[in-house]
Symmetry: C2
Subunit: 338 residues, 2 copies
């Protein structure tokens, strides 16, 4: 079977990957579309930093402690797929049903995240395994491409839910990559009446406006905080220095939601945050109910994700797609269609 | 009139300070007791850093922009005082009434914080001005010493209110200086059933236990996070590195309340906070209702602040008191009795 794998920081296609065999409770599926996530690019570039940091982490199970960067890594966690066959004693939807799922594979050994793994296949493969209890059939005849955006849009929904923003409060979204765009779509879905989006890229600002931003700002012209007075700021850049700039410039009492994932150490001035009594909520992922809401919103047309899909490549095109996504101006979401 | 002032980083006593004259809405008071706050020590040591940082700050009025460190600085914001006389056309309590107030002086020019100033007198003086509308008479015959602790105890009350902690949740208080002790007292007042306090100093741990901590831990033995599983962590140290250590070790989903004020830049790993979806609320001060609640709790005996008062000095003793407070083991709160 064919799959694209991360090897020494580059995506390469293998045609000798062992055919996955579903166990009890598992389902073999054919991947129809899989989005390339910014976190996959980050992992390709900063995988060692990430593994070193998560190895230091206490208070949570380390999902990455058996990841070996010297061996091939399977990735791809934003997928839609058609059911091929169920494992032994497993009830599921009919073969041919288009489904999606939170990226978790349940096995007798436990729950494996479908994110970075030397062993668990992701969506950058012709076929993969999913967990029958977690499958969501894609409703309303929604195509496989938009269905694959269920996962990234759920990230935005979770960030907005965590913020507890009210419709009459001003939201400022800093960074209009896929995470920022998902936040904007979720704010629009909630009916927030003043959505301000900031990005250096004119292409991204146009996409932000198309997805629901009422005002778009170029931070190269002036700080967004000189042009609006947000109650909630969504940080969707994930680069060092951004959090401190927000703390320094935002109004007193701002609620900051950090949705970007900065994988390096970062410098902040706690005094800035203290004097202005700022709260900072770090968000990650979503819960299963938010994932299901995301699919429903896309399938019912409440969120139109089509403007976000800026490209589609076969497995062979992934290495080039990773390179193109490194320059953010051209693309938002590229789908892999194995 | 005599007052102790900060001059070149040291407290010195002057006897040539001009007698304050109350304007309309103001009241001349005789200071009976004024607590030495950790922030005064920080300011004496790191005043330039603080002014440089607050000068960078946007989104809030800079209370310090006219503070000149090359001139004498008046301080002292934790006071109780007796009314001497009211300004013109000013109704207030009878002369001799013991009062306290949030440390704000209202003048025709606006609201001046009574905290660090070249011009506005604080509680490290024989007499000072207060604002008639902000005065709270000290009830129940409470002595001037405990009444002066209204302000620092309000800081703890505000931190606990911000946390929205439930009584059955575990609280971990890191650092048992005056701020940490005020947090512990407020947690006890709320009826929180599992209050864990951590400090390197055995004297401070004993005080923490006296003020309401159910468990006290020495972090030199092992990380407090290896010995309890808090829902809410109160950071009451204010030194670089503490916030990142909390982010790294605390359980997933922890609410962190930062009550310590770190005046230097600090390094954090946003990834730690992201993976565990931690929220961080920075708190500062209190609102007038919390200040009034604090006075009431002390006057009604719901919070017994007497174990916190470890010393009392005249104005001439302030320089030595600042030195003694730099070594935290001996003292919690020293009162100045001008």
């Amino acid at each position: 079977m064919r799959a694209a794998v991360l090897r020494q920081g580059r995506m390469v296609v293998r045609d000798d990957v062992a055919e996955p065999v579903p166990g009890p409770g598992q389902v073999l599926v054919e991947v129809k579309a899989c989005g390339i996530c910014g976190s996959d690019l980050h992992f390709a570039q900063h995988g060692e930093d990430l593994l070193a940091s998560t190895a230091q982490l206490e208070g949570v199970a380390n999902q990455n402690d058996d990841v070996d960067l010297s061996r091939d890594i399977f990735m791809g966690h934003e997928f839609s797929a058609e059911i091929l066959e169920a494992g032994p004693s497993t009830d599921t939807y009919a073969p041919g049903t288009l489904v999606t799922s939170v990226p978790v594979l349940i096995s007798p050994q436990g729950m494996d995240m479908i994110v970075y793994s030397n062993t668990t296949l992701g969506g950058y493969a012709e076929r993969m395994l999913l967990s029958a209890p977690l499958l969501l059939p894609v409703p309303n005849g929604l195509d496989a491409g938009p269905a694959a955006l269920t996962e990234p849009m759920a990230v935005g929904l979770h960030a907005v839910n965590t913020s507890r923003i009210e419709r009459n409060e001003t939201a400022l979204v800093i960074g209009c990559g896929p995470v920022g765009i998902a936040v904007i779509a979720a704010l629009k879905l909630l009916g927030v009446e003043d959505i301000v989006a900031s990005d250096f890229s004119p292409t991204r600002r146009r996409l932000a406006a198309a997805m629901g931003a009422h005002v778009t700002l170029d931070p190269a012209q002036d700080s967004p905080f000189h042009q609006c007075r947000p109650a909630v700021v969504f940080e969707a850049v994930g680069a060092p220095g951004i959090i401190d700039d927000i703390l320094r410039r935002c109004p007193a009492g701002t609620r900051v939601v950090v949705a970007g994932v900065c994988m390096q150490p970062d410098t902040v001035h706690p005094l800035y945050a203290a004097v202005k009594q700022i709260s900072v909520s770090f968000v990650f992922g979503y819960d299963p109910a938010e994932f299901a809401s995301s699919l429903r919103a896309i399938a019912e047309g409440d969120i139109d994700v089509r403007p976000m899909i800026t490209g589609s490549v076969p497995l062979d095109g992934m290495a080039d797609a990773f390179d193109e996504l490194a320059t953010p101006d051209a693309h938002c979401k590229i789908l892999v269609t194995p």
